[in-house]
Amino acid sequence: MNERTAYTEFHPRWYRTRMSTWWWLKRPSYLAFILRELSSVFVAWFIVFTLLLVRAVGEGKEAYEGFLAWSSAPLVLALNVVTLFFVVFHAITWFNLAPQAMVVRLRGQRVPGFWIAAANYLAWTLVSALVAWLLLQ
């Protein structure tokens, strides 16, 4: 209890209803919010996965092939299928939000949100194509 409020005999108690731990199941928009928040866990997992890949490549051919075999184990594969869903969900929600976060002005006029989102999607396509080209040539 706060010392400064101790003088009153009938100390008021805050009335705060306790929210259910499952509050985010009540509406689709709440669920979308929590899923977006949870996507970060899968982002972190894939960073760990990427670092294991880097280590394996650095260690040599055998380690790299061992890594590829490990990545096709059912559990890892299943985890990465879920990860793909979440990182795509993250990317789409992120790019759709970009117009709210970025205010771009061109000759004093605000660039419409549509074009900002479109530019983000274009960048996504180009980066993905570049990565695929680098790895698959």
Binding site: T21, E37, V48, V57, E65, A91, F95, L134
Partner: protein, 117 residues
């Protein structure tokens, strides 16, 4: 002098990490998580992977991707625990776990990327 809050910096890291993760991770997950393991596409040979990883620019991009994505995770996960589980009373433990994890992960990323022959 007014006490400066570190919050804007953390938000900046979160936001930059969000952009990089959104741009780079989907294609990487698609390729290394699904296409190569399932045999839809042939996985790159080891010498090719080594060639790609040897390039300083690849390592720089990967390092920035890892660091910022981890800080992105830390920031978002922190608020997931705050709001989702209403665990505000565990504030300090959560912060230590999230940002500490991101810092440790960044150091590990630096070491691993440095070690590539």
């Amino acid at each position: 002098m007014a006490k400066r809050s570190i919050e804007p910096l953390l938000w900046l890291l979160f936001s930059a990490g969000g952009v990089l993760a959104a741009l780079l991770l989907p294609i990487l997950v698609l390729l290394f998580g699904l296409c190569f393991p399932l045999g839809w596409l042939a996985a790159p040979r080891h010498d090719h992977m080594l060639g790609v990883l040897r390039h300083p620019l690849t390592r720089l991009v990967l390092f920035i991707l890892c660091t910022l994505s981890l800080f992105h995770w830390a920031h978002r996960f922190r608020y997931t625990l705050y709001d989702g589980l209403q665990a505000k009373h565990l504030n300090e433990v959560i912060n230590l776990f999230c940002y500490g994890g991101a810092i440790v992960g960044s150091v590990v990323a630096l070491c691993l990327l440095w070690q590539v022959p």
